[in-house]
């Protein structure tokens, strides 16, 4: 026990004197978690509160063009700026730059005409199907002329699709209104009353958004709930920058070799490293979670809600930390130099984070990538944390994720043992 204690003291001393390693393990992840949460929160605010600027160039002089602008305004997603109707593509692009708008819509000059023609055609078909006499207007077979949506390429596809969906919804309202009016007039030979029109077009059923949780609470997850656990895992695996380098230094300096000549089992050294650095990963998690709970609201970010099963959170954190530490030791044993350990360590962590679903959620991945994700320990860490943070689960609920994580850890330990044996270090 004295040997283990002396070794832990040695490892702690080496660690606290590694300023760069410490800053990589604590400061970098904290900066990362704040920045990513802030960005994601800003995106949320942009869509839900701040509204996106959109320029509208209405070349249509009819009623439908105006109705479409009105409908776009009512979506609630956009702040609409009207442009003169004679703008060409280059002028529109310049206007987007001037007005700091990422989007612009051009309504074609024949928009009203085409909408009316289509409405008449649909109305006639409906009259025929009712067994009534239709108008003798020539049947319209074409579609309404397309709107042109200009966008700044910095807009991600996901956001662009949301915008497109919103515009289609506005178009639907305009076309439906015109069809209703035409059909009503054809049947009743008088205009559709405004009140009825409003009821027919506006009375949509509301959609209630309800988060599904295991503990029955209805707390909606925010950007902090998603980001803090994910980047805490990333921080834990970043111990490789200090621990992997420390293992390489011990090998290169000959300390490992000297220890082998002493009457103590090398397992003591490995156990000490694991105890020391798992403690570091738990401290990392405590620091980042504390920042999420109390620091984020002070920075204007949504605060982190700690799961109800705090013991489960501690167990999950320790197992995630153990896996991260095992990975770092494994890389350190096989790396021939500090540069190799740091270079491979940093890149491999980013790859494991990407395939593990830290950057893009794994549910959005295709089938083959989902299979690959199972080999990333970070995937299981994330699933376990999400089970606690987002789904309100308990330790027993996330056990299904912890078992594969422990198996991966044991495989890493075995590889480390074989590596040390092969290099004659144990």
């Amino acid at each position: 026990m004295f040997k283990l204690w002396a070794t832990i003291k040695k490892d702690c001393r080496v660690l606290v004197r590694d300023g760069i390693g410490l800053s990589l393990m604590f400061i970098m992840p904290i900066v990362l978690v704040v920045v990513v949460t802030d960005i994601q929160n800003s995106t949320f605010q942009l869509i839900n509160k701040n509204k996106m600027a959109i320029l509208v160039c209405n070349r249509d002089t009819g009623e439908s063009g105006k109705q479409l602008i009105d409908a776009i305004n009512k979506i609630g997603l956009f702040k609409v700026y009207n442009l003169p109707n004679n703008q060409d593509v280059k002028t529109i692009a310049d206007s987007m730059k001037d007005k700091d708008a990422l989007l612009s819509v051009t309504i074609p000059g024949d928009f009203t005409q085409k909408v009316k023609a289509k409405a008449k055609s649909v109305s006639n078909k409906a009259m025929v199907s009712f067994g009534l006499q239709a108008d003798s207007v020539q049947r319209y077979t074409g579609d309404v002329s397309p709107l042109s949506l200009y966008y700044n390429p910095v807009i991600q596809e996901q956001l662009r699709l949301s915008v497109k969906g919103g515009l289609q919804s506005a178009l639907q309202i305009v076309e439906s209104r015109e069809t209703l009016r035409t059909l009503y007039f054809a049947i009743n030979e008088k205009p559709l009353p405004a009140k009825l029109e409003s009821e027919m077009l506006s009375n949509k059923a509301a959609i209630n958004e309800i988060p599904v949780s295991k503990n029955g609470t209805l707390r909606a997850p925010n950007a902090a709930q998603h980001n803090v656990p994910a980047w805490t895992i990333f921080a834990m695996f970043f111990v490789i920058m200090s621990l992997g380098g420390s293992v390489v230094r011990e090998k290169v300096s000959g300390s490992f070799v000297r220890l082998k000549t002493l009457p103590t089992n090398f397992a003591v050294g490995l156990l000490s490293k694991q105890i020391t650095y798992v403690t570091v990963t738990v401290i990392q998690a405590v620091v980042i979670f504390t920042l999420g709970i109390w620091g984020f609201p002070l920075m204007g970010l949504p605060g982190l809600n700690i799961p109800l099963d705090v013991f489960g959170l501690l167990v999950v954190t320790i197992i995630c930390g153990w896996c991260a530490v095992s990975y770092a030791i494994c890389v350190g044993v096989f790396a021939e130099s500090h540069q190799q350990s740091n270079g491979f360590g940093a890149i491999s962590i980013v790859i494991l984070a990407a395939i593990g679903g830290l950057m893009v959620p794994s549910f959005a991945m295709d089938t083959s990538l989902k299979t690959v994700a199972n080999f990333s320990p970070m995937h299981w860490c994330l699933q376990a944390y999400y089970g606690l943070f987002l789904e309100g689960g308990k330790l027993t609920d996330v056990m299904q994720y912890l078992i594969p994580l422990v198996l991966i850890t044991l495989v890493l330990q075995l590889i480390t043992f074989l590596g040390l044996k092969r290099k004659n270090l144990i």
């Binding site: 004295f2 040997k3 204690w5 002396a6 070794t7 003291k9 040695k10 001393r13 080496v14 004197r17 590694d18 300096s253 000959g254 300390s255 070799v257 000297r258 220890l259 082998k260 000549t261 002493l262 009457p263 103590t264 003591v268 004659n424």
Partner: protein, 253 residues
């Protein structure tokens, strides 16, 4: 040649080759070192000195033959064998981020000493090796000579019966060399067997009683230094070395 007395090291019929290399390093090598002796092992680069020391300390395993230290088979690699030896490698094989006291505390614990023994030996060694005033300073700020003294202190913290030294004075100033050699002589007076290898042959002349020359994995001669100089009609160990191993460059790749 060694004939009488208890043996500190007895190597019989040793065979060894590196798995990554086709060439045989040792084949049928024999070597005896008496207990309490100051023994010097010399040879050109690539002769097999460090490999032989690694086999003695159990860092490498022999393919065939036996190595016993004070009657204990090295291949068993048990704690009893490890307690007998102190190893001072050529590299600074300790933690540069730590102070001498912190290093000695850690290596002392791994050498099997308790807290009180470590404290007593640490105070003693830092005093003898002139490191008292820097006992709590980080080693990475030390000069080469101070680092060598820390390296030596770690190797002897547990008072080993056999001390194996691989170039313990390389790159140090005259004062440090003098201090290290004096301390080694002192240890030997108290019964420690010294097994020493170096390229500093003039230094070795003053330290070693018994000398073995090794080249291409073979012990080419072994006797007391006086007898060897007389037998080969040479004036110094360096002359003897050159006459037996030649003057060609040795490229150890």
């Amino acid at each position: 040649m060694v004939a009488n007395g208890e043996l500190a090291v007895n190597i019989e019929n040793l065979g060894f080759h590196y798995p990554s290399n086709d060439g045989v390093v040792f084949s049928g090598l024999n070597l005896k070192v008496r207990k309490g002796e100051r023994f010097g092992l010399f040879g050109p680069n690539g002769a097999g000195k460090t490999t032989l020391l690694s086999l003695m300390t159990g860092l490498l395993s022999a393919d065939s033959g036996t190595i016993t230290l004070l009657g204990n088979d090295v291949r068993k690699k048990n704690n009893d064998v490890n307690k007998l030896i102190g190893f001072v490698p050529q590299d600074f094989s300790y933690y540069q981020e730590l102070s001498p006291v912190e290093n000695l505390e850690f290596f002392g614990a791994w050498s099997g000493l308790n807290k009180q023994q470590i404290k007593t030996r640490t105070d003693e060694l830092l005093h003898i090796l002139g490191l008292e005033n820097v006992r709590n300073k980080q080693v990475d700020k030390f000069s080469g000579g101070m680092k060598r003294r820390v390296n030596l202190a770690i190797g002897v913290i547990h008072n080993p019966a056999i001390l194996i030294l691989d170039e313990p004075t390389v790159g140090v100033d005259v004062q440090t060399r003098h201090a290290i050699i004096n301390y080694l002589m002192e240890l030997n007076k108290n019964g420690t067997t010294l097994i020493y290898t170096s390229h500093q042959l003039s230094e070795a002349e003053g330290l070693c009683e018994e000398v073995a020359l090794i080249d291409v994995g073979k012990i080419i001669t072994q006797d007391s230094l006086t007898n060897l100089l007389k037998e080969h009609q040479q004036d110094s160990l360096e002359d003897l070395f050159l006459s037996l191993t030649g003057k060609e460059y040795r490229n150890d790749v």
